[in-house]
Symmetry: C2
Subunit: 74 residues, 2 copies
């Protein structure tokens, strides 16, 4: 899965670059940079608890998170 389990270093080893639609995402986990890891990490949980890392600097990822916070209960 390309994901380190310990909390003492970066979690993401492989970064998924291909677009994933929000409807497949159960959860979006954002780990701010910190002493354990010098970069922001985004870990998304998909169906069947599959986890993938996304690139926080990818335009589509930024749009996705922005859209997520935008939608009211229309």
């Amino acid at each position: 899965l390309g994901l380190a389990r310990t909390g003492l270093r970066c979690k993401c080893i492989n970064i998924n670059q291909t677009f994933i639609s929000l409807k497949y995402m159960k959860n979006i986990d954002i780990a701010p940079r910190g002493p354990h890891c010098p970069k922001v990490e985004i870990i998304v949980t998909l169906q069947k608890r599959k986890e993938v890392c996304l690139n926080p600097e990818s335009p589509w990822v930024k749009k996705l998170v922005k859209r997520l916070l935008k939608r009211k209960d229309q």
Copy 2:
């Protein structure tokens, strides 16, 4: 803690409205709306594994998430 443990309904019972600085946040968890819960939920992990829910529609929360994704490795 005002947080439901099961995955079958909304996780956030109480929403923390007061501002929390990013430096106190170990993790930001965004749960998109879904069959289990009709609203987007943001659960932040603070020091000592304390978890609080934030209001996704609060301006300061939106700014916080936006800022989180903006910062390059300056």
